[in-house]
């Protein structure tokens, strides 16, 4: 049974340290030196969007801003480029969270795809206004990879909140 609002599955409350840990691991994954290989997903954006959709009260634009600054330094890009894109992503994800969570996971991914693409468009616009070169169409592939990863990442990040499905005839839920 999928962990979404329309199913009858009830999740345990999330632990704060787990959110911090996953964001930290995503940052580490983004630091891996893949260079200009296309199709490598932006792990920080993926995990950030996930927590903004599932826990909009705990993870929001402030976290997005701080993570964006870290990515700007790590990527040797212009300060504020990732920060701006992540803040907009967090705003969109948190704003849509009540709608998104009612859909099955495949359709959730389709909701998330335009957010990732918009984030990349924002980054490209800011840099090309600053006179940088066009990175090529293949660069947008990473949004699609991140969308494909939405399903496994949902199960992975919600695993600590699952509880055993013991059928109790005396309790309705």
């Amino acid at each position: 049974m999928q962990p979404i609002h329309s199913s009858r599955r009830i999740l345990l409350p999330v632990k704060n340290w787990f959110i911090v840990l996953t964001l930290f691991i995503a940052l580490l994954l983004n630091l891996l030196p893949f260079g200009r290989l296309p199709g490598i997903p932006d792990w920080v954006a993926l995990v950030l969007a996930f927590w903004c959709v599932h826990q909009p009260l705990k993870v929001g634009m402030a976290a997005a801003f701080v993570l964006g600054l870290a990515m700007d330094v790590a990527d040797a890009s212009v300060m504020g480029q990732h920060a701006l894109a992540y803040v907009l992503l967090a705003f969109a994800a948190a704003g849509w969270s009540r709608r998104v969570l009612w859909f099955p996971l495949a359709q959730q991914a389709l909701h998330v795809l335009p957010m990732f693409l918009g984030m990349q468009l924002v980054m490209m616009t800011t840099r090309m206004l600053g006179g940088a070169e066009f990175p090529g169409v293949l660069w947008f592939l990473s949004s699609f990879t991140a969308t494909l990863l939405w399903h496994p990442v949902t199960y992975l990040l919600l695993t600590p909140q699952f509880r055993p499905e013991d059928k109790d005839v005396h309790r309705p839920i």
Partner: protein, 306 residues
């Protein structure tokens, strides 16, 4: 609205509304963007964050390093033997040149002393390893494993065994960023080796460079090798840079469109040599004093030989 004329306190405190927060953070990021892109005033912040994040970065590279080491350990002995033999042969070939080079440098020194010219700086360098290409897809940069702790400074040229690959633009304590020749922001003064025609080489993205501002009838051919002219004081003169691959002489433009391919393995990785900085050139002469030189009517101003 309550009776007293002010809103009742909210049940749940959630801070400012999302739109307010969005406006705050977006304006903050835009300020950062402008400060960095336009005024370049955020290098200190970048340096601080990068220094703090350095251990984190090393930690993230651990699996890659381990995999690389394992791969190197398992590499076949035959390939090592072949490499050794190849290197020995090349060394023998180069020994002749090296020996003559020493002789020539001595002779050059003496001649320069005779001519009372400033001694040319000996080209000293520091070997660095290119760690990885920066992830930023909008520029062409690589990170090398030597930084300000090893005496690297911004502005130094980086070469490999064939020619120039770029220039150090940003220095951290243990690493440095090298802007490659093919980046759109990179320009380098060069000259054609064959006839000494000077021009400015600029990156064109996509692994190519272009020779800018040369007249459509400039004397240049496909296959010409371009070397640094050393006019900017940053690069030593005579280092190979690029080869002309395509010339588009369209008479509707005043300049020829000349595409060049870099000679060195700019987009490849491996070892590189960071050349020492040159001492500053004598200050540029001020702009020519404004002589009210009105060419008299009917005469053409004489062109002075440079």
């Amino acid at each position: 609205m309550s009776v007293a004329g002010h809103a009742p306190p909210p049940f749940f405190k959630r801070g400012p509304a999302p739109l307010v927060r969005l406006a705050f953070f977006v304006s903050l990021s835009l300020i950062l963007l402008v400060a960095d892109l336009r005024f370049h005033t955020l290098e200190w912040a970048r340096l601080a964050v990068a220094t703090v994040a350095w251990p984190l970065q090393r930690f993230a590279w651990l699996p890659i390093d381990v995999a690389g080491d394992a791969g190197a350990y398992l590499s076949r002995q035959t390939s090592l033997l072949r490499d050794n033999e190849e290197l020995r042969r090349r060394q023998l070939g180069a020994a002749n040149l090296l020996l003559r080079q020493q002789h020539l440098e001595q002779e050059n020194l003496r001649l320069r002393a005779l001519l009372d010219m400033r001694a040319r700086l000996p080209a000293e360098g520091r070997i660095a390893e290119i760690l990885y290409a920066a992830r930023d897809p909008f520029s062409r940069r690589v990170i090398i494993d030597k930084g300000s702790q090893h005496g690297i400074a911004a502005g130094q040229a980086v070469v490999d065994d064939i020619g120039i690959i770029g220039q150090v633009v940003r220095v951290f304590p243990l690493t440095a960023e090298v802007l490659l020749l093919t980046d759109k922001d990179q320009a380098i003064p060069g000259e054609v080796q064959r006839n000494g025609l000077r021009a400015v080489l600029a990156g064109a993205g996509a692994g190519m460079m272009e020779l800018r501002f040369l007249a459509a009838n400039a004397e240049i051919q496909v296959g010409d090798v371009l070397v640094t002219s050393g006019l900017d004081g940053g690069y030593l003169p005579g280092l190979p840079v690029a080869r002309v691959v395509k010339i588009d002489r369209d008479s509707s433009y005043s300049f020829a469109r000349i595409t060049c391919a870099p000679l060195a393995g700019v987009e490849r990785h491996g070892l590189a040599l960071v050349l020492g900085s040159r001492t500053a050139l004598p200050p540029q002469p001020d702009d020519a004093p404004a002589i009210p030189e009105q060419p008299s009517r009917g005469k053409r101003a004489k062109k002075k030989a440079p």
